[in-house]
């Protein structure tokens, strides 16, 4: 058995579409879901004689992101041409940044049970997105939609500071939250406004130099990123343990088969022949402009987390989960104003409500429930109108239909039975029908109690006040002499 311990090193490259009204270098609408090739012009189609001009808003949003990630804005920046032949780029080059990017050297703080840790950001640079290719399933053809060509992008490159797939996932969630708070992008992985590639290498703990790096592409969810890294970590350790060598290559994540597949080896790697983009002039970014943008930064997730802990007296963990989703944190704050028991609200948001959203692959923003509606429902539990158990069903109904708790309770007759004689009536029925179980209970089998409560709840359709049901049943059984 190989007892060797391996160290994993991961770096992530995130591409973020910036949601300006127009594209990076032309006035075409920057909008997802338009008819194919309906948002193009001579500039983004790369027709001869056209000239790109930088969108000012794009630069401002880019500075905002760089500043929020603690990056240093380099006062002088320029654009370069990255040359490659692939039909997703009509110009045969992508306008990107090479040796004089917008910014370098930032970091993101991630918080886990192990404490807080900083993951370095190598650089944040600006570049245009490419068009979208649709490959024909039967014929050897591809169809191109150039609407996405020229969409403003940011490339956010992390240092190889990440030490596990789990940590990579945490870094991505933290980064996404920061980007959402900045309101510069939809951050929607399904629509491709946030994308992630990964670099991973492993090495024996005795070895100082980093291992052979493999690049992973084609992950469409954060979960996919984690799974691809987990698979790749195991694959690489297995190869090294068997005494073989790894080769530097690019691999694609296959989400269906849950494996990574070879795309190209280093020998086939690109040579992009970067050179300065002569169609765009250089840019000088003044400290004054950077400060102006810095002053407009909203409260960031980390600050909000600290404020939540202090203001609402909730746990570190609860606060971290709540602020990780901008929409959820805002819902929480709004709800606390109407129903001043933060811990209760946090429990529902992080428990049943998040559970429902996850199970249905929904984002928090798609929730059909207002903070007022949740506050009302929690009030109904406190008043004893419904039990906590019934409330779980009511919440699902509220989320999916957008109706209020009181309407649902009235319609479905879910009001809790908290009337002793009524519950006692049901208890008599249960005892009458379960002679043997009652015997078991009386002969000391405590488990029998659970069964009888279950029967009672079934008869009352779960509406009996659980505490009363328990007490009344015990009291009644103590009188049963056999």
């Amino acid at each position: 058995m190989d007892k060797q311990v391996y160290i994993t090193t991961i770096g992530l490259e995130v591409h973020l579409q910036i949601s300006t009204k127009t594209k990076a270098f032309c006035g075409c609408a920057n909008e997802f879901g338009r008819e194919p090739n309906s948002s193009t012009c001579p500039v983004c189609l790369g027709l001869p004689g056209s000239l790109p001009v930088l969108n000012k808003k794009y630069l401002e949003h880019a500075i905002k992101v760089a500043v929020a990630l603690d990056c240093k804005i380099l006062g002088s920046m320029k654009f370069d041409r990255k040359n490659y032949f692939y039909p997703d780029l009509p110009k045969n080059y992508q306008i990107s940044q090479y040796d004089m990017p917008l910014s370098t050297g930032g970091s993101v703080e991630i918080t886990s049970t192990a404490g807080a840790r900083r993951i370095g950001i190598t650089r944040v640079h600006m570049e245009e997105d490419a068009g979208k290719l649709i490959h024909d399933q039967k014929r050897p053809l591809s169809f191109i939609d150039y609407n996405r060509t020229g969409t403003p992008l940011l490339e956010i490159v992390s240092e190889p500071d990440i030490s596990s797939p789990e940590e990579a996932h945490l870094y991505l969630s933290t980064l996404k939250a920061i980007l959402e708070y900045l309101e510069v992008s939809d951050c929607n992985m399904q629509e491709g406004s946030l994308r992630c590639d990964a670099n991973i290498s492993v090495r024996p703990s005795s070895q100082k130099a980093l291992g052979v790096k493999v690049e992973l592409k084609n992950m469409n969810t954060f979960k996919g990123v984690r799974q691809a890294l987990e698979y790749e970590e195991k694959r690489q350790v297995k190869i090294l343990s068997s005494g073989k060598k790894l080769s530097q290559e690019t691999r694609l994540w296959n989400a269906e088969k849950k494996i990574t597949e070879l795309m190209r080896t280093k020998e086939q790697a690109h040579d992009y022949r970067y050179f300065p983009e002569p169609d765009l002039v250089p840019f000088k970014i003044s400290p004054g402009l950077v400060q102006e943008i810095r002053d407009t930064l909203p409260e960031m997730p980390n600050d909000k987390r600290l404020r939540f802990i202090k203001e609402y007296k909730i746990s570190e963990y609860d606060a971290a989960v709540l602020v990780s989703d901008k929409a959820m944190s805002e819902f929480f704050s709004a709800c606390v104003k109407l129903y001043p028991k933060p811990k209760n609200i946090a429990n529902w948001l992080m428990g049943d409500i998040s559970g429902y959203l996850n199970a249905n692959n929904m984002e928090f923003g798609q929730l059909k429930m207002s903070p007022e509606a949740l506050a009302e429902m929690l009030g109904l539990i406190d008043k004893g109108t419904i039990s906590g158990k019934i409330a779980k069903d009511v919440v699902v109904d509220m989320i999916s239909t957008g109706r209020s708790a009181s309407d649902i309770v009235k319609d479905k007759g879910l009001t809790q039975i908290a009337d002793a004689p009524e519950i006692e009536g049901f208890i008599e029925e249960v005892i009458g029908e379960n002679d043997k179980v009652v015997d078991d209970y009386l002969s000391g089998k405590d488990k029998a109690m659970g069964f009888l409560i279950g029967q009672l709840m079934r008869k009352t359709k779960g509406k009996a006040n659980p505490q009363m049901a328990n007490e009344l049943l015990k009291k009644r059984l103590s009188k049963e002499k056999r």
Partner: protein, 94 residues
């Protein structure tokens, strides 16, 4: 000095295939060009800031205002091949 393997590498990057003695021809032509450009290296540039652009202009911006795009058929007019609203190309999986 540009040799045959460099010519083939550049041709490969440019996706062009070379016929017969073109390797030799282009190698000698490129060497002539480089030798000519090489003269610039005789100039003393110590203390001169590198520049990335010949025009002395910085910060040319555009406001984030939507302008009309090309009508779809106009955008597709130069396409060597098209189908429905798409440009059509041989399948390239990369």
């Amino acid at each position: 000095m540009i040799k045959k393997d460099m010519i083939n590498y550049v041709a490969d990057l440019a996706r062009i295939s070379l016929a017969g003695d073109e390797e030799k021809l282009f190698a000698s032509q490129l060497n002539d060009i480089l030798a000519y450009i090489e003269k610039l290296n005789k100039l003393d540039t110590a203390g001169v800031e590198p520049m990335s652009h010949a025009v002395i202009l910085v910060n040319m911006f555009r406001d984030d205002k939507v302008k009309d795009s090309l009508p779809k058929d106009e955008a597709l007019r130069n396409a060597p091949e098209k189908e429905k609203d798409f440009f059509k190309v041989p399948k390239v999986i990369e």
